[in-house]
Each structure stands twice: as structure tokens, then as C-alpha cells.
Amino acid sequence: MSNSHANGSHRANGHSIADMVDLASGTVSREIFVNEDIYAQEQEQLFARAWLFVGHESQIPKPGDFFVSCMGEESVILCRDRESQIHVFLNSCTHRGMKVCRYDEGNTPVFSCPYHGWSFATDGKLAGVPYFKDAYKGELDKSQWGLIEVPQLRNYKGTVWATWDKDAPSFEEYLGGYRTYLDFLLDTWDGAGGETEVFGGIEKWVIPCNWKFPSENFVGDRYHNISHRSVDLVGAGPSGSGRRDTQERVGATALDFSFPERGHGTISFLRPNDGPIPSYQHSKIVSDYFAHCENERRKNYGKWSRFIPGPGTVFPNFSYLPRQPRTIAVWHPRSPESHEAWRWFLVDKNAPAEVKEFLRKYYISYSGPAGLTEQDDMENWNYAHNASRGAIARRYPYNYQMGMGHDAPSFDADGLELPGLVRNVTVAKAAEQNQRGFYSRWADFLRASNWDELASWRNGHSNGAKFHNGAAARAGSAL
């Protein structure tokens, strides 16, 4: 396998990264989805460096609580130690590699390896070594052989993130201006900044396609509505029709936000000032609750209450739906052709029981392998991947040219500072600015040797400065 740093041209398996992600022509090679060498490089260059979501604080409320999660291909343990500190460890004994935890979740004072018996405390320290005095003569330096811990961890509004790269920027710097949009997922519905929690039961299932298919879908694909024709026909929305309650989008401006220097992206709707407040007809308690939240939202968010957040992806593999259903999905790579999807469902901690119950049912029927909506996505990703593996298919790149070279119409942001590359797609209905931003960042990660190169915004070369109203195209950038 060739190394991407072997020469100055940044090659992966003989393919130039620049050719594979060709932003000037708006194409992306199928190789990056199907090629095994490129997949192996992603593990080193991308998943070992990026900030990755591990779990939610509400899954481990008490000391000793743990949840076994993944970072890329690796199994990790998210746990709370006796002093209530949160840790993330590689789930592998430092002696001979055995998984020290094969349970999905629980509470424990120690993680004991069933192979030779090394035992680790919940703060990662090596606490028990069989025959420490007799076999090791008491000389083993236990302080050096604790569980391997991530060098950086951040609990951001209840979501726990970690990176294997000690040189990665802080999580907030990694997010950049995208934080504004992510907060709409993590803050309470009423905008008062209260706590959220996840329902018990994390969905885990195997999707036979490359992990980037769902990541780019959530980063801002407004174009795939036809995928969901069947659910739009039969209705699964909270009020019984459509997929969601889309009344709130009537008369709204559709805006896409891309952060090509970071890879994140999301879509949204900016409601007119006098726009309708969505209603949830399910029951009086539920509709009263959401009406109350919307009123509070107007007070707490001010002008931002017009902002209806939509799906998004935090680079590389954390995708979410911030409104209804309110879910987090992580796409864990398993091979070029397969990934494991894990899904958490969020709810405001203080929501009435009847509201939580209503949302729980809606979430289940919408999302995941049994979800009326997502079943059709997975079929499309599955067979898009399947039909891209052949030697002939690989010669022909995917097309990401939508909206390139055209200004998007201006709009009245009414004084809102909207971070990122903003594109008004109300008339166009869709654009692929966000996907181009995602793959631009993917290419950065495969080219770069370290975080000094990746943190391009520090060098004044940021292409994520404020561009409004389609200025991205005017700026000469392929984005």
C-alpha cells in the first residue's frame, strides 16, 4: 500500500486525492467508497484524529456506570469513575489485548480481563495483577499499564466526545461556528437550556454500504425526497400525515449551511416572522406542551426562534435530526462495504410522561431498521454501493455539481448572524454545496500529516468566513 505522505502529490493507492475529490469539476471518485486501501487510510488519517461522539451522559448517571461504544472500528468503554469523572478507554487489556468488557452497559467497580485476570479500576488504573509478587516480583510498573485512555474528552451539553489525537483542537474549535446549529439539537425544545436525556435502548444494526453514504446524506441532501415517496403517501408524521409536521415550513426560506474547512453541514428553514406555529394534534397534553414550548422558544431565542433546524452531520460520522424525530446516529466503519449504525433518541428531561411516550412511539416508527422512513434510505445506500464496486463502475465518478457556479438568491436574515457558507435554496429546492464541503474536508484529512495542517482556519486561509447568499460560487471556490 502506498503511503499518502510518500511523496508530495498525496496519493492513496496510486490515486491522487486531488483527482478523487475534484472540487473544480464537482466530482468524487467511487474509489473512496469501495477501495480497501483508502478505507485503511481513513482509519489512520481520519478516525484516529477527528472528534468522535461516544455516548450521552444520561447513559452513565452513577459512579461505576459504563456503556460500551465505538470510535471508528475500535471498541471503547465510556464510564464514570468513583469520583464521578467521565472516561473513555480502549476496550482492550494492556497485557494481551482481550476485551475487558463484553457487556453493552452496566455498573461495575472494575473491568477484569477474563484471559489472564488483569483488572482495571473505573479510572483506568491497573488495580489487580495476578501473581504480582510471585511472577512479576512486584516490579511491574502498574502506573504505566492502565487502560489506554483517549487524550482528549469533552462533555458538551450531555454529549460525550473524544479524539485519539492529543494535538486535535478543542472540541469547540473543531465545531467552529457550527456550534450554533448543533445547539439546537442539544438544548431543550423551549430554548431555556435545560437538560436532555436519551431513551433506554440504543439501536445497533448493520448497513451494507460505506459509512460515507449516510454521513453525506445527513450533511444536507434535500434532493432525495423521492426516496421517501412511500412514507409520504401513507403518512408517519406526528399528526398522522407526511413524514414530519411540516406546517412550520410553510412560507419559510430554505437555507443550507456548509463548513468546508471543518466538514460539517446542515440544512434549515427560516420561518417568516408571522409564520404558523406547528401543532401536534395527537392529544391535548402533547399539543399544549409543544405550544407552550414554542411560546417559550420565542421568548428565549428572540429572532432565532424563526430558525427551524434540520438534519446535519458533524464531520465525519455523527449525524442527527434536531426536531422530530430527535435522534443521533453514528456510522461506525467496519469495512469499505459495511458499517454499523448506532442510534440514540433524545428527549427533554423535564417533558411530561405523555409527551415522552408520544415521541418514543414516533421515533421508533420513523427511524432505524423498522422505521418507515429510513428503510428506503438504506436500500438506496446499499445498492448505490453495490453498483459502484466493479472495475468499470469505478472509472466513473459521482456527480456533485448541483448549484455550482450559480448565485443563490439573497434573503432577509433580519439581522441573524448565520455562520458558515449559507445558501438559499428556497427556489432551487436543493444544492450540493454541503456535500462538496464534506468531501473537501475528507480530502484534507487524507492529505494532511497533522493537526497543524488540518487547522487551516488558524492560518488565515479559512474558506469558511462569512459568505452569504451564494457568495461561495462567486468567490471562485468550487464550493
Partner: protein, 66 residues
């Protein structure tokens, strides 16, 4: 030599003896079948251990006394 002990079944508060001839009271059982946390009651070989709490490995336990 005593028979093989299943650590999962040892209750907290139980007294155990070790193959070194010490006795200890189980203060916490993680029920992983590999280790127990115990407080030494007697330790003829190393009297300094008495009163201290330590992890005791399955194969170092000779017998459950109570």
C-alpha cells in the same frame, strides 16, 4: 487443597482464607468471578497487611470460611 471456588457466589461480609494462610473479610464483590475486594483480618506471613483492603485473585483464595 480446597475445591474450586466460584467467586460470584461469595457474599459481601463473608470470610475467606488465602493460600498464604491469611484470612480476610470480603467488602465488595464485583462478581466478575476473577477478583474480590477484601480486608485482611489475619496475615501470619505479612502482618502489615492486617487491616488493609486489597483485591484478592481467585486462584489465591483457599476457602470460604463463612
Amino acid at each position: 487443597m480446597a475445591e474450586v471456588i466460584n467467586l460470584i457466589t461469595i457474599a459481601e461480609g463473608a470470610r475467606i482464607s488465602t493460600i498464604n494462610g491469611a484470612t480476610a473479610e470480603v467488602v465488595n464483590n464485583p462478581k466478575d468471578g476473577v477478583w474480590v475486594f477484601a480486608k485482611y483480618l489475619t496475615s501470619p506471613e505479612d502482618p502489615d497487611l492486617v487491616g488493609s483492603e486489597d483485591m484478592i485473585f481467585a486462584q489465591d483464595i483457599a476457602e470460604v470460611l463463612t
